[in-house]
Symmetry: C2
């Protein structure tokens, strides 16, 4: 019997009561009962997105939510500033190109966060830019960007700030209204501890006005229609992913019970312990100190050891899943241990303990137990 | 305790073992284990679609699959023939317009199937038409279109035939390869007895060639990319709806165990009994005899009785869900009893029995038990 523990940055571990909710008999979506689920889900999402604006739910994975942002905000020929500091930043560029918008790419070295002044300079050099597209947690590198400081740069301009918070929402702080973010995209299978299959998009009045005027083709991801149908009929324009919306209600109950502040502190603690463990094992952390994410920890593997092998042995032999490195830059060179999802300190202890076992097997020299002890010392301080 | 039986045309009743599969702990999608599920799902879909062509799986509801067809096949300014004989035919028109394609609308009176010669005439009058967009089962009216005869008209032309088989696939016969259909769209929550959240699209070489040349913007629904990623990595381009893909494996096992021929015969029998019951109750069937669907039965409600009230009382008081009428044409005037999903003869008996109870309550005069007896007589012959 293996544990099959997911310490991966999406999908994340689903709590047993949410699994049970997913196994319930299905109900029809055009019923008062489901309308209540939908309404409660939207209210709960507003709490987690920290917004009073509309939050719309779509049946798609997170990328569908990103496409909804681009297709509703950018017309062909429009310029958008895109921050590329990893694989998910690159997705914004690809989306802009797919829709004939012109991405003004701000390149950031992998492992670093974007400097707000880079955005400021790009905006000054490109008057008339319609949107700034950034990533809250760049999962491929383990970086959290300083959304608040970026919002300070964008908020008094004509442009809208769009944050891909698929990874990180409900895990690290992201105050849509207070900070002045216009659009936030997220999904069901990371901080929300549900299976993949739902995208969420929060959109304020400034951005919705832009959506009304936008000329790009859209139908399934048409936010004007989604807003109208939700307001008039408490419904989605197309059949919703019923089961996951119901599961989301359970997830939101968990988050609300704790309160966002405690939730963020919990993940910060898991991250702190994981980092301490890595350092105690003599391993380097990949991201810069200044932007290291509490959603996941990216650890450089020791010289001569293949990170993908660590990942595979942990998963296939011992049933503990972490993620390997993505892209030419990081393949085989890092492992990524996520803290998102239904993860507690004992899951982190388990993950570190398994990492130690596999590092030993692969011939890396260190004091067995030193990683776990360092994590314990954080958890018990 | 209510039964909460779904005799609705999507979502449909999910068998208990599929509910249980949905409640299992999640696994990661980038694992050999999930790749096997994905591979088996695609193989199984090919069996049900009756095709050797690619079948691609997307995380969206069925409409996303329809959008994938339009966005990958039609460039702005392209002409497409669209059959409008109900609400879902109209969706093709809306999608064409959203993408700047020009819909040539073939209007069919509600309750009737399209005549193949109408398509032939429309094609003759519009040379250079790129696609013919039709509906297998028009759920809003209860009609099955004669896809085979339409394919005979389209198959030796430059145009591709695209069938929205969201409703009806795995319920009524639709032989993609044998009949010469180029693209078939379906979804998880009707014949496949799973929750909504997956769209399927089968696309042959002729249509894929058109997708390569198409100029419409697309990213999430880009079929070129989906085909490439599936072939090279047994993966989907974006995080799949993991839980529903796993459930789909169970559903396909059920369908394969029976074999398509038996499955179609089963639904034909349920439809025959439902029709017999309606007639015995003195009610008229809405669609023409020639095109009445085996996927659902649309029954005209008696003069002076509100169809929506029947639907609501059956659902809210007795826990048996049927569908009401859609659109100005049919709202309140019909009820629709679906046979799709995990439905057996006793579910139909239950549905008819509940319909009789509610008709009595609403003052309609008939011999109590006559509907159930008529259904039983079909089931026992």
């Amino acid at each position: 019997m293996k544990k099959n523990l997911l310490l991966t940055p999406g999908p994340t571990q689903i709590p047993p009561d949410i699994c049970a909710a997913l196994g319930r008999p299905i109900i029809h979506h055009r019923t008062p009962q489901f309308q209540q689920y939908l309404k409660d889900a939207v209210e709960g999402l507003k709490y987690v997105f920290q917004t009073k604006s509309d939050v719309l739910i779509m049946a798609s994975s997170g990328t569908g939510g990103m496409e909804a942002a681009v297709a509703n905000l950018l017309s062909p020929g429009d310029k958008a500033i895109v921050v590329e500091g990893g694989k998910f930043g690159e997705r914004w560029t690809e989306l802009c190109k797919a829709y004939g918008a012109i991405p003004v790419v701000v390149k950031v070295p992998w492992g670093k966060g974007v400097e707000p002044k880079q955005i400021k300079e790009a905006m000054a050099a490109n008057p008339g830019v319609k949107a700034v597209l950034i990533t809250l947690v760049e999962t491929s590198t383990g970086v959290t960007n300083d959304v608040r400081a970026i919002a300070d740069v964008v908020k008094n301009t004509e442009a809208v700030l769009v944050v891909d918070a698929i990874s990180g929402l409900g895990v690290v702080d992201c105050q849509m209204d207070n900070w002045g973010v216009d659009v936030v995209v997220s999904a069901s299978h990371k901080g929300f501890m549900c299976p993949p299959g739902l995208a969420f998009i929060a959109i304020n009045a400034k951005a919705m006005k832009m959506a009304e005027a936008c000329k790009s083709p859209r139908y399934y991801f048409d936010l004007r229609k989604a807003k109208k149908v939700m307001e008039k009929e408490t419904d989605t324009p197309f059949t919703p992913a019923i089961g996951i919306v119901i599961a989301l209600n359970e997830s939101i109950k968990h988050i609300k019970e704790q309160g966002l502040e405690k939730v963020f502190a919990h993940f910060a603690r898991l991250a702190k312990a994981t980092r301490a463990a890595a350092v105690a094992l003599g391993l380097k952390l990949y991201p810069d100190d200044s932007c290291m994410s509490n959603a996941l920890t990216t650890i450089c593997v020791p010289e001569g050891v293949d990170g993908n092998k660590i990942m595979k042995v942990m998963r296939d032999t011992y049933g503990i899943s972490v993620a390997g490195g993505q892209g030419e830059e990081l393949k085989g060179k890092v492992i990524r241990i996520a803290h998102m999802g239904c993860i507690d300190e004992y899951d982190i202890i388990t993950g570190i303990s398994c990492l130690e076992k596999v590092l030993k097997e692969l011939g890396y020299k260190f004091t067995l137990g030193s990683g776990v002890a360092a994590a314990q010392s954080v958890f018990n301080s």
